[in-house]
């Protein structure tokens, strides 16, 4: 499977989804007006990946900002990971938040309460 590598912009995150390593990274800002347009290829890609996932998949989310329309798309991404986890594969979501950014920590906890995948909340201390 070809990896997805997308360079970040001021409104969209850097994406590095590598099926060979089982490590998927989302980093930066996610505040586009049309989030579906940006996230649909990622969700479709995960749909393919979930057919033959690696025994262990790690997802690293390191977002500085995301808007509410991205929040729904990120949930769609996590739902695919939940399906992979449900099929008895090891999946972990590492949710990074900057020191003192309680809003970002709470956002991670929201997802943790909705999605049945182990989360790790990691504070980035500068």
């Amino acid at each position: 499977m070809e990896p997805i590598i997308i360079e970040g912009t001021p409104k969209t995150p850097t994406v590095h989804f590598d099926a060979g390593q089982g490590v998927f990274k989302l980093e930066g800002r996610s505040i586009p007006e049309n989030s579906v347009e940006f996230y649909k290829p990622l969700v479709d890609w995960l749909d393919q990946y979930k057919e033959k996932p690696l025994p262990k998949t790690t997802v690293e989310v390191k977002l500085e900002y995301f808007n509410t329309s991205s929040s729904k798309c990120i949930l769609d991404v996590f739902k695919k990971l939940e399906m992979i986890h449900k099929a008895k594969n090891d999946v972990e979501i590492k949710w990074y938040y900057e020191e003192d950014d309680e809003d970002m920590l709470e956002a991670g906890e929201d997802y943790e309460s909705i999605i049945r995948v182990p989360f790790e909340m990691i504070e980035i201390v500068e």
Binding site: P10, K11, I31, E33, N34, S35, V36, Y65, N67, T68, S69, S71, K72, C73, L75, E98, D100, D101, E102, D103, E106, D110, S113, I114
Partner: protein, 187 residues
């Protein structure tokens, strides 16, 4: 005589305004406004969490305008602007205020008012649960809005969303939304 938008906007421009814009809220304009206000908050040396709250609220406010404004009426000078909106950002020692204004068809007011009143009556915990419920159960609208913007603003600021509707003519009103972001955490 109909409502005078020019005078209305002028009245919003008090001494503590750090940014204002009136015109078409395109994607490019949103980028420029975000950059400009982000720079202002950096220069003001506010704590990162306040800067982040301001940025987050600004993104949602601008994208609410982008997705939901109604076109200006025929007699309005910027009638050709499909996404006409106004935004004013103020900074004082008690914090920031972001005020947006836009045209709204009168038949949409009741729904919006109900939504705002529901948010304003909710406790912090209820707003958090409402956010999670909408996130989990509601689809993204064809306009691209997630239906979460106002709830997110209320959650992040912890404040009441002050609003007002001004009659423009018999079919259209101006919707004013005023959001306070406290400089110091109250919770």
């Amino acid at each position: 005589m109909s409502f005078n938008v020019e005078n209305y906007f002028e009245d919003l421009l008090t001494d503590d305004v750090i940014f204002s814009f009136k015109g078409d809220i395109s994607s490019e304009v949103i980028n420029l406004i975000l950059d400009s206000v982000e720079q202002e908050t950096e220069e003001a040396n506010d704590p990162p969490r306040i800067r982040k709250k301001v940025y987050n609220v600004l993104v949602e406010s601008l994208q609410n305008l982008f997705h939901h404004v109604d076109r200006p009426p025929e007699d309005f000078q910027d009638h050709d602007s499909k996404k006409f909106g106004m935004i004013v950002v103020k900074r004082s020692n008690i914090g920031y205020n972001i005020t947006t204004s836009n045209f709204i068809a009168k038949d949409k007011i009741k729904n919006l008012e109900e939504k705002l009143d529901k948010i304003n009556k909710s406790s912090t915990e209820e707003i958090k649960e409402l956010y999670k419920f909408i996130l989990h159960h509601q689809k993204i609208s064809p306009k691209g809005g997630g239906g979460l913007g106002l709830v997110d603003i209320a959650r992040k600021t912890g404040n009441i969303l002050h609003y007002m509707f001004y009659d423009y003519n018999k079919n259209v009103s101006i919707f004013k939304l005023s959001i306070d972001i406290n400089a110091l955490e109250t919770n």
